[in-house]
C-alpha cells in the first residue's frame, strides 16, 4: 500500500490529544499514522516541543505530515520547532482548523490516499462544517 500522509495532534492536554487521535483513527479506519503530543514533559497542562518533535518523526511515512494544534499557544510551540529543529521530515504543514473535526476530516482524507495539500484542505474546511 502506498504510504499515507501522517497527522500530529498537538494539545495542551495529553488525554485530549489521545482521545481525538483514537476517534479520528476509528472513523478513518486503520492505515493512517496519527501521532499525539499532549501536555508538558512532566505531565501538566501545556505543550512540549520535544513531544511534538517525537510525534512528528513517528507520524512521518515520507509523504508529509499535517499538524493540528488545539489552541493558539500550541501554534507557538509548533512554530518554534519548525523554525529551529534540524532534519525534520519534508512537507510538514500546520492546519488552521477545529481540533476534533479537523482531525477526523484529515484522517479520512489521509486514509483515502490524499496528499499533504488535500489533507490540509480537508482539515481547514472542517471549520465550515455544521453539526445540526
Amino acid at each position: 500500500m502506498a504510504p499515507k500522509v501522517g497527522i500530529v495532534l498537538v494539545s495542551h492536554s495529553a488525554p485530549l490529544a489521545e482521545g481525538a487521535a483514537e476517534l479520528a483513527g476509528q472513523v478513518s479506519g486503520e492505515g493512517v499514522s496519527i501521532g499525539t503530543a499532549g501536555g508538558t514533559d512532566d505531565g501538566r497542562i501545556g505543550t512540549s516541543i520535544d513531544k511534538v518533535e517525537r510525534a512528528l518523526r513517528l507520524a512521518d511515512s515520507g509523504v508529509g505530515v499535517v499538524i493540528l494544534p488545539d489552541l493558539g499557544s500550541s501554534v507557538l510551540t509548533v512554530r518554534a520547532l519548525l523554525a529551529d529543529a534540524d532534519d525534520l521530515p519534508d512537507l510538514v504543514v500546520m492546519a488552521d482548523a477545529p481540533f476534533v473535526e479537523g482531525a477526523v476530516a484529515a484522517a479520512v482524507t489521509a486514509a483515502a490516499g490524499g496528499d499533504v495539500d488535500a489533507v490540509l484542505a480537508a482539515a481547514q474546511e472542517a471549520r465550515h462544517a455544521t453539526k445540526l
Partner: protein, 90 residues
C-alpha cells in the same frame, strides 16, 4: 463522456461515525463526484463531516448519486457500505 448513476437504499440502522468514515474513504477513491441525499439534505460523500451532518437514521431513504466515468462503480461501493452500516447498526 461523463456518466451518471443513482441508487436509493433504506437504512435499517443509523449512519454513525465509523461507517460515515468508511463511506467517505471509499468515495474519495473514485474520480466521480458522489452525493448523498436524505430528506431535504444533500451532501458531498467525500466529506466525512458532511456525511455525519446528514444525520441519516434508521428507516430513512438515502439516495446516492454519482457523476463521472466511474459513477457506476462508485454508487455500487457506497450502497454496499450503507447496507453494511445499516446491518451493523452501531
Amino acid at each position: 463522456m461523463p456518466q451518471s448513476c443513482e441508487a436509493t437504499i433504506t437504512l435499517t440502522g443509523d449512519l454513525h461515525a465509523r461507517p460515515a468514515g468508511a463511506l467517505s474513504v471509499a468515495a474519495a477513491k473514485f474520480g466521480a463526484t458522489v452525493r448523498l441525499s436524505a430528506g431535504e439534505k444533500q451532501v458531498d460523500a467525500k466529506s466525512v463531516l458532511a456525511v455525519m451532518q446528514l444525520g441519516a437514521s434508521s428507516g430513512q431513504e438515502v439516495t446516492v448519486q454519482a457523476s463521472g466515468p466511474d459513477a457506476e462503480q462508485a454508487v455500487a461501493a457506497i450502497v454496499a457500505i450503507l447496507a453494511e452500516a445499516s446491518r451493523v447498526g452501531e
